[in-house]
Symmetry: C2
Amino acid sequence: MAKRGYHHGNLRQALVEAALDLIEARGPTGFSLSEASKQAGVTPAAVYRHFEGREDLIAEAALQGYEIFADVMQRAFDDGKPSALAAFEATGRAYLAFARRYPGHYIAMFESGISVNRTPQLAAASAHARGILEQAAYNLSLYLPADKRPPSSMFSAHILALSHGVVELYARNSPGTASQYPPEDLLETGIGIYLRGLGLLDADT
Amino acid sequence: MAKRGYHHGNLRQALVEAALDLIEARGPTGFSLSEASKQAGVTPAAVYRHFEGREDLIAEAALQGYEIFADVMQRAFDDGKPSALAAFEATGRAYLAFARRYPGHYIAMFESGISVNRTPQLAAASAHARGILEQAAYNLSLYLPADKRPPSSMFSAHILALSHGVVELYARNSPGTASQYPPEDLLETGIGIYLRGLGLLDADT
DNA sequence: TGTACATCAGTGAACGCGCGTTCACTGATGTAC
DNA sequence: TGTACATCAGTGAACGCGCGTTCACTGATGTAC
């Protein structure tokens, strides 16, 4: 990563990565353009060759986050392919794994305050990710008798909300109160009980 | 609220309220000490007669939030007293109602980045609120056969996570993507399915 | 009731700081001939 | 291969700004006698 000379080579991406590091380390508030540029070994003014400004840089980080997120979800879904149920559970768990593994992206996406409607690209990326979860939910809902089948968008919204809540309250250290249960367990048992409530799992499972 | 003269009378609380207004309007980031003091009709320096600084003021807002929150939860719980089930559902719903009605407090508590461990008082207030939900969960769990009874703290954590996730993703406008379902419905159906999964509701309910 | 005085809540000017952003510039790169 | 030149990525100095915080101060309040 040593700076070569006058020209950086791949400053745009280097700035995004610096931003992600800083966001992860200090939260979305503690991040500044100047600092990101310094970390990339460059003058603050150089940022403006690649981004419109501070917000634009964060938005790019979030965009990349949504793309990775969609990827991760897709892969989790595919891995569980043989059983729609497994696919669904895996997709939910992937949420938690993503938050753990890409904390900078996660924060940029969900805690930085930038709106998903800031840009058509960003809206598309987020819609795409959500679509994958809904697809998993839809496939799963086919196992239910048609008259007891809830709309799959509702049912994926439940899983998404539960996952998000678990991450925010018990996985990220921000609110400070760790639960006595590991977030993974909390999520897994929660999803299990929920699916049983839908009639998709036996009462003894 | 007109300023009387040289002395304000109740500046401390006026500052907290100004802070809440600003936080609600602009998010935790957009809030500044100077602005809060201006809104309270007072010089920025006056703030230091009542608070140690910016963070301390936000912490006080969060503290008051936890107290109101605990109150609201307690009341919801009491109102559903005759049926433990009703009490539990009401307590969950109260979460959403709180976020809607006291957005400034809600943000100060959950989105401002101040840690609940900042102060013993703050930790106590938050523990107290959580305790109420756990109590509701415990009472409810007594309806289950002892061998199938999950720990009530786990089960209240599930409801809390679901509620929090619904609020963050679908009730607060920040991430920008409104669901097609009203958050109240999402939460109610979600809790319903979950409770059915626990065997606390008939399959047809 | 009236005066003296301690207490305390607010003033307002000043500070240093880091921020985001702009600007005219310059050094490096790559392409045309 | 060598030279001229356009393009473009980065510099560095400067800006105005609002912020949080400090300080010596002053005006109002309330209490003792």
